[in-house]
Amino acid sequence: MNFNIPIGPQHPALKEPISLRMTVEGEVIRDADLRLGYNHRGVEKLAEERNWTQNIYLTERICGICSHSHSTCYVQGVEKLMEIEPPKRGAYIRYLVSELERVHSHLLWLGVAGHEAGFDSFFMYTWRDREVVMDLLEMISGNRVHYAMNAVGGVRRDLDELQIKKILDGVKVLRERSEYYFKIGANEPTFVGRLAGVGYLSKEKAVSLCAVGPTARASGVTADVRRDDPHAVYDEVPFDVCTADTCDVLGRTVVRVKELLESYKICEFLLRNLPAGDIAAKAPKKAKPNEVVSRYEAPRGENIHYIKSNGTERPERLKVRAPTLANYPATIEMLKNGFIADIPLIFAAIDPCICCAERTVELVNARSGEETIVRFSDLRKLAGERFAKSPVKRNVAWPL
């Protein structure tokens, strides 16, 4: 007996709107379908109307969790277009923030995984400890979420000795915490029982469906842009690419925890070897006509920006591809033959950032308050009409 259940666009397991339509047989998922487009803001079109500086903040707002990753990816590209090189100190600070952001994103994900598995204590503890890194980021950049650290040609804020000391202390605390939780989290039988063997994605499938980030690495694919396409500081910093071979949600958890530990190492390296000097180079207002592909390893996987300039102070085209969109085909594959109970876990395991993945369409009149009201009343009218027309049906079937 098959029936369809809609997961989303509004569902407690999804913090952002996306529609997953599951065909289930009892508790087992037979097929899954995906519908995007509930969260489109038209960033790519909008970027063509903004100058290079304004676009930093626009790209930063593509995502709330990995805000630094998109703006870094964009700024890397623009720097290449303008043929400037950020000073060493600026680059170090920029990628220090990147790594701290990865720490906060992975801690957030661990908490979310705990919550999706119904393990709220784990959720509360990881998020409590995440506050440490959030406070560090707020101290460095002046804000908790949108750091606004990037400028074309470097970063906007410098670090002083006191701040460096505070970050090192914070990283130390975080490392202890992460190791402790990793140790006990990996031993809690109910938690491990929920994660192990769930959402299987074989290595071949991960490769052919172009999975990225921890999703791919948990299937044994050693793909990491930081190593594959070394840019800026990453050819100087020693770090390992973390992989797992269990191909399930447990593997993805392990990969993320290992990456946390790697990120602490990178942060410490960057801080200990922070060179003196300027933090930003002077950037011109305009860029020569050219095109550039910029890649960056965000916490969720590879970010890729394609930027084309036309000699003015605005980009001709800015194409953004966020890691979540790349992981959707793999998600569909993972969901098949899983249990309903595992939907949130499997879906959360790619660390979906729906507003990252969706940004292209300009929603008609979403900015105008009045239109929204009109739309709402229209919606109500429509709903009322539909409700009146439809005969009362009890088309339910015994699901067992």
């Binding site: 809609p6 919550h115 119904g118 204590s121 595992d342 009362v392 699901p399």
Partner: protein, 323 residues
């Protein structure tokens, strides 16, 4: 006059009013302990230490709009919360709290009342299933089937676990079991396995983590209660709270030596012992992650049921030795 008195018992103590006050207090206690275990604050602002928060929640829900789905079976949909509340409140009367007569310890007390109590505690599960089913919502229906699937898991271990102290006490009356263990408190020790099994089974019956599968919000939204709102939801929530009190009262009565003495002592003992049980339940809730419904059933039959049988064996052996 006697009728008036009975009505007073039913409505005030140990009936509805007492159950309402005490169950909201227990919910507050549970929430507060759960929050403190997670290093949070928990309810803080309504009343002293937020103690009135569950009451405030209840009245707020009562004032909310009540939506009945068009496709739902309206009579059943409306009656179920009332039935559910009535059932658990009746079960509450069986608690050995109040004795108009010197012999029995509860308002209604008769040989075999423990069976009736267990039966009354099974009914809410059926109510939840019907509630989910009559909502005609996919999430509710999945929740409803999960409720029933789980029932097959935990019900038998719970019955067997509660059976063993009764066998040892040689009585089917809650008050008598309590009195037996009050006389011989050392005999409580052999029942420790049964106590653990009963705690876990009660946790499952109350649908709390790790057994909150029927209304796992990240999977199936509100589960059985997805379509419920307003007064009906308030009734269901109150029903869950009273069920928590009654179940923990049952566990306390048979495994922690019951309640005895004068009215006040009896009440104090009841409060202390149920709060201990609720604390343990909260601890379990904070300790574990939700498991899947197939894992529940296999856990119940592979671990809990054998343990309960083991407990029965121990009790029978001890009984033989005592004779």
């Amino acid at each position: 006059m006697a009728a008036l008195k009975t009505i007073l018992y039913l409505v005030v103590y140990p009936g509805l009013l007492f159950l309402f006050v005490y169950s909201t207090f227990c919910e507050w206690f549970d929430r507060k302990v759960y929050a403190r275990l997670q290093n949070r604050m928990g309810p803080t602002h309504t009343g002293r230490w937020g103690i009135l928060q569950p009451v405030a929640d209840f009245f707020k829900l009562m004032a909310k709009e009540d939506v009945v789905p068009d496709a739902a079976d309206k009579t059943l949909f409306t009656l179920l919360p009332i039935f559910g509340l009535a059932i658990v409140a009746t079960a509450g009367l069986l608690m050995p709290l109040w004795s108009p007569s010197p012999s029995g310890a509860s308002l209604i007390s008769f040989p075999g009342d423990i069976i009736v109590l267990l039966y009354l505690l099974s009914l809410p599960t059926l109510i939840f299933f019907l509630a989910g089913w009559s909502s005609t919502n996919f999430f509710s229906m999945i929740g409803g089937t999960r409720v029933l699937t789980m029932l097959f898991g935990y019900e038998v271990p719970l019955f067997m676990a509660v059976l063993s102290p009764a066998i040892l006490a040689n009585s089917w009356q809650i008050a008598e079991i309590g009195a037996f263990y009050r006389a011989k408190p050392l005999l409580l020790l052999p029942n420790i396995i049964g106590f653990v099994v009963a705690l876990i089974a009660v946790q499952a019956k109350l649908e709390r983590t790790p057994f909150d599968i029927p209304h796992a919000e990240t999977e199936i939204v509100g589960g059985t209660f997805t379509e419920y709102s307003g007064k009906k939801l308030a009734f269901f929530r109150l029903m869950t709270d009273i069920e928590l009190v009654v179940s923990s009262g049952l566990v306390a009565a048979v495994f922690l030596g019951g309640f005895g003495g004068t009215l006040v002592v009896r009440l104090v003992e009841f409060v202390v012992k149920t709060l201990i049980v609720i604390f343990l339940l909260s601890l379990i809730r904070a300790l574990t992650s939700r498991i899947r419904v197939d894992q529940v059933v296999s856990f119940a039959w592979k671990v809990m049921a054998p343990l309960a049988v083991l407990q029965l064996l121990i009790v029978i052996l001890i009984k033989g030795m005592l004779k």
